[in-house]
Amino acid sequence: MPASPPRPDDDDSTDFSLRVPIDPGSDADLYGLPTEAKVPAACGHDPVERMATEFLDALRAGQQPDIEEYVKQLPQKEQEIRELFPLIASLEDWKHDREAEAMARDIPREFRIERLGDCRILREIGRGGMGVVFEAEQQPIGRRVAVKLLPRQIGGQTSRARFRSEAQTAAALKHPYIVPIYSFGEQDGMCFYVMQLIEGIGLNRVIELFRQGNGSLTAASIRQQFHESNSIDPAASMEVQKGRKTISTIDGPGTSARIIRSDAWMQIVRIALQVADAMRYAHQQGVLHRDIKPANLLLDPNGTVWIADFGLARPLEEGFSHSPRVAGTLRYMAPEQFSGQCDVRSDLYSLGATLYELCTLRPLYETTDRRLLLAEIQTSTPPSPRSIRPSIPRGLEVIIQKAVSREPSRRYQTAAELIADLKAFARSPRRNPFTWLKDKLRRRSS
């Protein structure tokens, strides 16, 4: 689009202290401004300041810079570095906490949105760093759908472009265990997309319920959990109540069937197989999830697991803070993702970390401190699953441990490999895992 010439307007409502007379006849063809990059960076700077800047840049990129490294580079300034760098790190932490808090606050507690596109909004069913999800009715055809909204408060045009492009990515995926996307829309500067409504709950909720002592979940209890999730509009929730009655009458005798039990390893393996199958398909399509975690895996009343947010994986927090330092998302990230690398094996790691938690009911790394969490993911070895819950079968433990190896080359290299092991385990769960692993090696070498 050609630029329209700027209109002179001197009735600026803002008063600028710096006023320079404008020469109206000036039509000089100025090209560019001096940029700092062209000046040899940091010449004549205080050498400690140069180190401090590097240190700050690393912190802001979400890395774990080691103060010792800086001491080594500038031994004559050791005392100053040791004294000041920890304060610099603390300042960054404090700032980050404040900013994260403010961003969460910027998203309204309640949305007074009645319609998005052709959807009538019924209630909010969840929110995350990525946006807010509503249950809605797509009116022309009267079907229940889920609508995910990117609130205006999050990011700018770039975020919207990304949200749109990622919705397109996800829409291209057609798989029985991936939540299908129907359409994308924009309204009043907000983007949203419409997808199939899964009347299920995230595995994070499943884990939470197991942790609270619920030994098993039935179709009815999953449905109930779904409907009780966070409703905002009393009228809408009444309607949902009505809807629920209808559902339970169709539900019939199957309702009480257990969908999942916290110690039913075969059910957990079945979940893992479903997710791995969807991942294999997506990976074949060239799409990584990048943010597999319990909250993105929805268990429905039929016991089917659905992967949500496929292709939407680059969390929008990144747009906020220029760094992936948000604990909720960090916990399931593979160590190499912190240095910006992500491939099929990183997704499989995240699935492994999810399975670890589903089996042990404890996260792979427990700390809630962001900085410690980053360090633990990169350096410490989590306890073996059976040391937490001895009833976990050896075979399953071996699979999980392989999936979460810190070194990508020691993990499952493809979803198909993971599926093969899960199936081998499912065929003979009591067998010593090393026997079937050996079998496999034998088959491979012969």
Binding site: S4, G156, R164
Partner: protein
Amino acid sequence: MPRGMVVVSSGEVMTHQPLTEAEIDELVNQVIRGDREALSKLFDHFRVRLWRIVHFRMDSRLAGRVDTDDVLQEAYLAAEQRLKHFLYDSPQGFFIWMRLIVNQTLVDVHRRHLGTQSRSANRDRSLQSGWPADSTSFSLSFHLLGHLTSPSQAAMRAELSEQLNIALGSMGDLDREVLALRHFEELTNHEASVVLGLTEQAASARYMRAIARLKSVLIAIPGFMERR
């Protein structure tokens, strides 16, 4: 698999890589020629950084009353209006110019909401950053206390806040300003030197001095550094 590999159903491939230096230069050139679309792209590119400035500088009394987003929106409109003055306002660069406009907008917002109680109203603007020294001091104090959130800490807050204000007051204006710019606004040394009218060398030395000074005042407040 390459990192950016995505399959897009409509065939429309959208790149969402951040702008490169060259792209920024090109957009700045377009802005100089009065291109509003280029302005919007650049504004978007720097949005997070500008958001951070508003977040840091906004008076805590305005929390809940003024939306950071609205301030940015207002600043954007002001930038559009002042587009043709860009080079005259701020030949040092686009980001410095946007920062100037955002700060000016925020000063207006403060005046509008707080009137004469506004710390930025009717004061000498002694510092190049555009903010009076005590305003920066309040912002620093507020944000430095941000990490004390547990209930027992909250009880200590008022008292600590008092001590922190006194401690920050004992630092030089320029020291506080350079801390605010380098840490809370995340300006580079170069940008901070432009804003403060110092050479880069002086700005870098000033920053290290200020950090050391901050350390000594924080340590003097009983328990502040350990309270995490």
